[in-house]
């Protein structure tokens, strides 16, 4: 068995948000949709202030609230631990979004072609690129898994939900997710928890660790080391105000 997951080392995180950007480029997510989000936190009062950072991918919970509530089975668990979203099946009821305690789901409120930052159909650009998003990643529209379902978030269909896929298209290719790959200080470690010799298993074994909102019983596959979970006293600074 495989059980993919992440170990995120808060000690090393500089909050640079490279992971967020790499995710956006790799998955061509539209404006306002952040599958990966890095919190920038502040605690305490001057001069006893603390500033720290926390990347927040989808937790790919083993006991995922979103999967339970999905009325049509568009959101499902794979044997390898990934929580997948079939963007061909989703009916856009957004039940997964209200059910998820981590706020990782992104709905396509708008036609993605009208929501990709710049006018990619500018005539002179058209002559160069033939139109459409120039850096469109071809892997995203493929089918993945034995079930052959389109879960790599290539759709960005209007009226469909989407979220972090752990870059399933890269993982099935033997690569790690874009966020883990790009991280300047190697904060994000991706691997198989069922493999006792994997980097992530070792990190987990050798470090005190926690999972977000453990009390929700969602059994996240994303573990944190080198820090403490945010409390009600933790203030977010420089928050990204996602807009469509």
């Amino acid at each position: 068995m495989t059980s993919y997951g992440m170990v995120i080392d808060l000690n090393r995180c500089t909050g640079c948000r490279s992971c967020m950007t790499a995710c956006k480029v790799e998955n061509n997510t539209t404006q306002g949709n952040f599958w990966m989000y890095t919190f920038r936190f502040e605690e305490g009062e001057f001069p006893n202030t603390r500033v720290w950072f926390m990347p927040r991918p989808c937790m790919h919970c083993q006991n995922a609230a979103c999967v339970k509530v999905c009325p049509v089975g568009a959101r499902y668990k794979r044997e390898d631990g990934l929580t997948a979203t079939d963007w061909d099946r989703c009916i856009g009821c957004r039940y997964c979004e209200v059910a998820c305690p981590y706020g990782v789901n992104c709905f396509n409120w708008k036609d993605p072609n009208k929501n990709h930052y710049l006018d990619w159909n500018d005539p002179e650009l058209l002559a160069e690129t033939g139109g459409g998003l120039p850096y469109a990643n071809p892997d995203l529209k493929e089918e993945y898994g034995d079930e052959n379902r389109r879960i790599a978030g290539g759709g960005h269909h209007k009226g469909v939900i989407e979220k972090c896929t752990f870059c399933v298209h890269r993982v099935e290719d033997g690569l790690q997710p874009a966020c883990a790959d790009v991280c300047p200080t190697r904060v994000i470690h991706f691997g198989d928890f069922d493999d006792k010799n994997s980097e992530v298993s070792k990190l987990l074994k050798n470090n005190p660790n926690f999972r977000l909102l453990e009390e929700m019983g969602t059994e996240p596959n994303v573990h944190y080391i080198g820090g403490q979970p945010p409390t009600s006293k933790t203030r977010q600074i420089e928050e990204v105000k996602a807009r469509v």
Partner: protein
């Protein structure tokens, strides 16, 4: 006769509901694999609705079906 049809319909209705709810539709409970996101047979939910339908349709049958022994 009329009673029988009606009762049969009711039984069939509830049975169909139960079966489609618990066995034909996507399994309830822990979801660990892609399989559990699909109904065991396609359009299982329709069977459930048919079940509900037939239970109440039984009432119509009960009232509308001509009663031999009255004739």
């Amino acid at each position: 006769m009329r009673k029988i049809v009606t009762i049969l319909m009711v039984i069939f209705g509830f049975a169909l509901q139960a079966v489609s709810f618990f066995y034909l539709a996507a399994p309830i409970g822990a979801i660990t694999s892609e399989a559990s996101s699909n109904p065991r047979i396609p359009f299982a939910p329709v069977f459930f609705i048919i079940g509900v339908g037939s239970v109440f349709l039984a009432a119509v049958v009960f009232e509308l079906l001509p009663d031999k022994d009255v004739q």
